[in-house]
Amino acid sequence: MTGDAAIEAIDVARTYALDGVSVPALRGVTLTVEHGEYTAVVGPSGSGKSTLMHLLGGLDQPTSGRLRIGGRDVAGLTAAEMAHLRNATIGFVFQSFHLLSRTSALDNVALPLVYRGLGARERRERAARMLERVGLSHRIGHRPNQLSGGEQQRVAIARALVTEPAVLLADEPTGNLDQATGQAVLELLEQLNTAEGVAVVLVTHDREVAARARRQITMRDGRVVSDTAADASTQRADDTGSDGPAHDGEAGR
């Protein structure tokens, strides 16, 4: 294991205390997310993939084991230091988009830069560029409720990438989208992964979605049960389901 990896987890465990009973959610996971990698984490609900996601994203600290995010050991970091680390290293995409409803697409995208202390002008310039990258230049001033689900998720992706993070963590990013729109979002993630060089970790319970990734990590009962890197081209060939241009699904929403 090298120190350059975007994220390294060594024998990481996380136990929750529920009503005085300790419930293990993660029982010793060792994995590395390399820069520029595209990884899918799959597993049934309760398998610990969400917990893993929270740990990899620096939202939570492991009960035991070592976790390095962006080369920094998270052990002993304060909440403020963790916040700084997330802002610098990680971009989040959530199943339910998590956009601020009263705020324009532009300001939603610019939000992480607020906590980086950038001035309003630079924030907006960078946010506008990022919205252009996800194909939403024409939606800059729209509020989330004026956007389709696919557009909202693309705004969220722009927000995740505006800080130029090392890793983009996507938790069921297509879970609230219809299939065609979901495909378009996945294609965007793949394209950004290639073009921007950002590592993507995609958490899903959907085997078809996972099948698109070059690397698949399967979890069960808080453990990694398989970690396979497949040839990307064959994975893509297996892809089933949607036909026709993926963008169609979003337009009329």
Partner: protein, 394 residues
């Protein structure tokens, strides 16, 4: 996060819940408004009392039997003409001493009648107290020494009995005895709760005969200057006590009266302000409450902001500023309301109201402080949220 950014976010949040923000602010508006109004009324009353006491004249010593107390009935006087002579001797000059024998009497002229304070006095009264005669003349020493039946009317007595007619030279009947009006006072207004325009002055000797008594009720002595006033008071009290060993006498200066009244009014103002302060407290609790609701409602937003890199103190600051914004906007509206109501009261009613800069500055400071004090707990609660839990909340 920059402070300017935090203000903007806080303002946005308040705008998003206009009705709720407005209602929460209303508590502050009422509280701060009440403080401003009540302090203005207290200050106005105090100023007016001070002006009235000072309006009596300067370096004045009031000598009465018994103790000077605002809540005890005045003692019945056993002072008489010989005591008056003794006081004049100590004061060194008849012109420095005023005396009064007071009785409530009906005064009639034609069909008009008024109940008024009849004061038997010396001709020295206008030299001791500040009293202007508007028409005619005041009593003379001859009037006093020969016991003439002449009277000087207070302005409201003259108006009631004679209306627009000139009272000088007219007859009035006091306790069945006829008097000739020789003068009318200029209006004075109220002093310490007494309508000083509802008075009739007659010579002391005439009043004593009319009331079949030899007593006098009280002296007022004008000291030559502020330095001698206390010694003069002690000398007079000692002399009166020597003459009446089983009686108690008191001499009080204006400063002492002002001190006592000022203390009472100060306490009154403080009590009123404290009552108004309670409404501020209630307003503050309302702010705290609404901020807790706001934190709970926006838990997901807090989780998201944390995920994107907001530190606990960024989140805390955002909610603290929101609370402070609520209370200061409410406070400013309350000040506007309080100032408006105080000015209207002063202009449209006889109730005095005096605005002071310190009370307005205090009200504003208290508004900010209420926001900080009552915003801290919700803000800390927001800042301490676990981002994982916050993101998952519905």
């Amino acid at each position: 996060m920059r402070l300017a950014e935090a203000w903007r976010v806080a303002l946005d949040a308040l705008r998003a819940n206009r009705l709720r923000s407005g209602l929460t602010m209303l508590g502050m508006v009422i509280g701060v408004g009440a403080v401003v109004i009540l302090v203005a009324l207290g200050t106005g009353t105090k100023n007016e009392v001070q002006a009235q006491v000072e309006g009596l004249g300067s370096n004045l010593l009031l000598v009465v039997p018994g103790q000077v107390s605002l809540n005890a009935a005045p003692a019945v006087s056993r002072l008489d003409q010989s005591d008056l002579d003794a006081v004049i001797r100590i004061a060194g000059d008849r012109d420095r001493v005023a005396v009064s024998l007071t009785s409530g009497e009906n005064v009639r002229a034609g069909k008009e009648q008024v109940f008024t304070s009849l004061l038997g006095v010396l001709e020295t009264t206008p030299k001791v107290f500040l009293r202007d005669v508007r028409a005619g003349a005041y009593l003379t020493r001859t009037d006093v020494e020969t016991g003439r039946r002449v009277a000087v009317l207070g302005s409201s007595v003259a108006r009631t009995l004679f209306g627009e007619r000139d009272p000088i030279g007219q007859q009035v009947t006091i306790a069945g005895v006829r008097f000739r009006v020789i003068g009318v006072f200029a209006p004075l207004g109220q002093s310490l709760g007494v309508d000083r325009d509802n008075e009739v002055h007659v010579p002391l000797s005439t009043a004593q005969r009319l009331l079949a008594t030899k007593r006098v009720d009280a002296f007022a002595v004008k000291a030559p200057d502020a330095e001698t006033i206390d010694r003069l008071g002690r000398d007079i009290v000692a002399e009166l006590h020597r003459r009446h060993p089983d009686e108690e006498f008191s001499a009080v200066t204006q400063e002492q009266i002002l001190g006592v009244l000022g203390d009472i009014l100060g306490v009154l103002t403080a009590v009123l302000a404290a009552i108004a302060g309670i409404s501020l407290l209630v307003g503050g609790v309302g702010v705290s409450n609404i901020m807790l609701v706001s934190v709970r409602e926006r838990t997901r937003e807090i989780g998201l902001r944390m995920a994107l890199g907001a530190r606990p103190r960024d989140i805390g600051l955002q909610f603290l500023l929101e609370a402070v914004l609520l209370t200061t906007i409410g406070g400013l509206l309350g000040i506007a309301f309080g100032v408006g109501a105080s000015l209207a009261t002063a202009a449209l009613s006889p109730v005095p109201a005096a605005l002071t800069w310190w009370s307005i500055a205090l009200a504003f400071g208290v508004s900010c402080a209420v926001g900080i004090v009552f915003g801290v707990v919700p803000a800390q609660r927001a800042g301490r949220l676990d981002p994982v839990v916050a993101l998952r909340s519905e």
